[in-house]
């Protein structure tokens, strides 16, 4: 008799067909991301141009401050603006994804308390939105490279792997922080601070070769170090070297964060509607 029921709701068991539900609601990923993109630049004058202006301005400032004033070295003979921009691609994506996904459950509180769907979709789709910005920035990078007549090597085909790494780090943190945010709104203030702080401890404005050799492994505890180094390795070509022990550490950490974030989210999601 029991087998004929499709769904059994019991306390503490969570949702059994979690993965099949996630598959059934796969279109919602797309729709929520689509909504956020559509809404994002409504009632702005320059609209989508904002996603061009922001990274370009940041890149200019970093180039001037780190490249010209502080005179940090580039990697090999690659132009400093490209060095910065290549790092900003994953960093901006990570930072946006983190900011958006950590508040996503709260901003969608009305959905959470009135409709059932796999809650994972909410922070997940927030990360997808930042992927769109990433693609726009990638086009700008192309233009920048054309301007400097910079040709990337074969390694660029490994880029999706590093992108995946960045996405996993963003998702892991996103799941975890969005779940924490439901109960402790403190994280609304902690996350922007983390992002600001992260910009300085990640090698965005400078090459990670600036960091003294004995500190490199410790420095790689920041998962974005591995991702950014990977991006530079893939795009800047032969002049960029990958610090392998640190990179492997970053991969392991990223995987760990992703799995922990997923676990924490799954463990707490059933209380969301009661607590939010």
């Amino acid at each position: 008799m029991n087998e004929s029921f499709d769904l059994i709701i019991e306390p503490g068991k969570g949702i059994k067909q979690f993965w099949s539900d996630l598959w059934r609601y796969r279109e919602l990923f797309y729709f929520l991301a689509w909504r956020d993109i559509l809404v994002r630049y409504k009632q702005t004058v320059i609209g989508i141009a904002w996603s061009v202006v922001r990274p370009v301005l940041t890149m200019l400032i970093f180039t001037v401050i780190f490249g010209k004033f502080a005179k940090f070295p580039s990697e090999g003979n690659s132009p400093y603006p490209i060095l910065v921009f290549v790092a900003m691609l994953p960093w901006q994506m990570f930072a946006n994804a983190l900011t958006e996904s950590s508040t996503s459950i709260i901003t969608n509180a009305n959905l959470i308390s009135k409709v059932y769907f796999p809650r994972l979709i909410v922070p997940g789709s927030a990360v997808i939105v930042s992927l769109i910005d990433f693609l726009i920035s990638f086009v700008i990078l192309g233009i920048l490279m054309a301007w400097y007549q910079f040709v990337p090597g074969w390694r660029i085909i490994t880029l999706p792997f590093f992108l995946l790494l960045a996405l996993m780090a963003a998702l892991g943190f996103g799941f975890w922080l969005s779940a924490l945010n439901v109960k402790y709104r403190d994280f609304r203030y902690i996350v922007p601070f983390m992002v600001q702080f992260g910009l300085y401890i990640s090698p965005v404005g400078f090459s990670s070769s600036v960091v003294p050799e004995q500190w490199r492994l410790l420095y790689s505890l920041n998962p974005m170090v591995g991702v950014i180094d990977g991006f530079r390795w893939a795009i800047l070509g032969g002049m960029s070297k990958l610090y392998l022990p640190g990179f492997l550490l970053s991969i392991v950490l990223t995987l760990g964060i992703f799995l922990f974030g997923l676990y924490y989210f799954r463990k707490t999601e059933r209380f969301f509607a009661d607590v939010i």
Binding site: F5, L7, E10, Y30, F31, L38, K114, Y116, R270
Partner: protein, 457 residues
């Protein structure tokens, strides 16, 4: 018939935190208190600030929103769930639709469930009508292809063709709600869970919604439906459940359950309330008591449109006081303070009372209440005809008249649809065709006074 939902010993507990509130807070006080608390907590991490152990959770209280509920739902059941506010109806629906988890118990569900706990969940004000149809559809669990297929039908149902590409924040609230309901109404699940969402839009649209719900029922789908609209439940459902304080009190035919709810579970105070502070306690002429009785002289608990009641007024005159021509005046008013009905033994009804003295009672018998559902207020006065008032009690009694499907049409007459009801019939005469008669509507209103008159003659 197969069982599609099986609920076993379902309970849901909430922990309510009571926040202690001062009359007004200053930032300085808050900081001082918080820092004291933090200091204490650092020193004694497992003792709460009020000194009690944390395990006892000072300032919190357990609240069982649902307690030990068990029932089975058969395929094709259309179940109306009724109960007072806070009885646990919405919690039950939330658990069934997997929004929140039960504390104990188990639910087994066969086939796909769609729930509609709110109209327009996930609508984004900046998006256009078209965009919101897709978004809302996806949130409710429809696929893109499914929405595309039903798109035209949804738009036609909502009657918003002209505004499809306007952001919904520019919609009138009626348009907004219509669009939202239209999307939801085109869900096609085997089991539909609906929470009090039919009370939206104008009358015409409400009727359309009810019609849609009926269609869904006719297709043999299973529906769980929470509403305070008894006539809708009577019309749509073939089974009803009554919840009270988180417990399942009745599960039976809709008529039986609705009657037991209306007669036993609504406390008297909700139906009529007497403001006895308004009684005069000294003076030559006193009104000492006012009672509402049913036609068999029992204390009345519930009032319906079309029901009858007796208003009993007890009076007391000081010794030696005599009113030559006494006039008891009773006014019925609505919430806007509009007088709807005034009755007085004299001069209005032409029933003079000469030389009123001592004490006694006077009853006003009304065999039918011709008022629509809503709140009414009553003024009672005692005057000497043409000479002025001895006693004047303004708003001394407030009545809540419950709506009834008085015309047997599925449409409860509430104050928004006019204040009174009347027996009537329609005769339709199309050109070149035989005329069609609707038959008497509101026959209860018509027959009761006649019956009573016959009895008494």
């Amino acid at each position: 018939m197969s069982t599609v939902i099986k609920v076993e010993n379902l309970s849901k507990k909430y922990i309510i935190a009571h926040q202690k509130r001062e009359r007004y807070l200053t930032l300085r006080d808050t900081i001082a208190r918080k820092s004291k608390e933090i200091g204490k907590r650092l020193l004694h991490p497992f003792v709460s600030s009020s000194g009690q152990p944390l395990a006892g959770l000072a300032g919190t209280e357990e609240f069982w929103a649902l307690k030990d509920i068990s029932f089975d739902v058969q395929q094709g059941n259309r179940i109306g769930i009724i109960g007072r506010n806070g009885a646990g109806k919405s919690t039950l629906l939330k658990i069934l639709s997997r929004i929140t988890e039960p504390t104990t118990g188990r639910i087994k569900i066969k086939s796909r469930v769609a729930s509609l706990l709110e109209v327009g969940t996930g609508f984004h004000p900046e998006l256009t009508g078209r965009e919101n149809i897709f978004l809302n559809g996806a949130i409710l669990g429809m696929g893109k292809a499914e929405i595309k297929k039903k798109f035209d039908e949804i738009v036609a149902f909502a009657e918003v063709e002209k505004f499809l590409d306007t952001p919904v924040k520019r919609f009138s609230s009626g348009m907004y709600v219509r669009l939202a309901f239209a999307v939801a109404a085109h869900l096609e699940p085997e089991i539909l869970i609906v929470d009090e969402v039919l009370a939206v839009g104008d009358t015409q649209f409400q009727r359309k919604c009810l019609g849609k719900m009926e269609d869904i029922g006719r297709e043999g789908r299973t529906v769980l439906f929470v509403s305070h609209n008894m006539s809708a439940i009577q019309k749509l459902c073939n089974r009803a459940m009554l919840l009270d304080n988180g417990r399942l009190m009745a599960d039976d035919e809709p008529v039986t359950v609705i009657n037991s709810y209306l007669h036993n579970h609504q406390p008297t105070s909700e139906c009529w309330a007497l403001d006895s502070k308004k009684f005069t306690h000294s003076g030559p002429v006193l009104i000492t008591d006012i009672k509402l009785l049913d036609l068999d002289n029992n204390i009345l608990k519930i009032l319906f449109t079309g029901g009858g009641f007796v208003l009993q007024i007890a009076y007391k005159l000081k010794e030696g006081v005599k009113i030559p021509s006494a006039s008891f005046i009773i006014k019925f008013k609505n919430q806007m303070n509009t007088e709807i009905l005034r009755l007085s033994n004299t001069p209005i009804s032409g029933f003079p009372i000469e030389n009123l003295s001592g004490e006694g009672r006077i009853n006003l018998v009304l065999p039918v209440i011709p008022f629509a559902e809503g709140m009414y207020y009553i003024d009672i006065a005692l005057a000497r005809q043409g000479q002025g008032f001895y006693v004047k009690l303004i708003n001394v009694l407030s009545l809540y008249i419950n709506g009834q499907d008085i015309y047997k049409s599925g449409c409860a007459v509430t104050q928004t649809r006019g204040l009174t009801v009347l027996p009537h019939k329609w005769i339709f005469k199309p050109e070149n065709n035989a005329s069609v008669e609707s038959g008497w509507k509101g026959a209860e209103l018509l027959s009761k006074p006649a019956e009573i008159c016959r009895e008494n003659s």
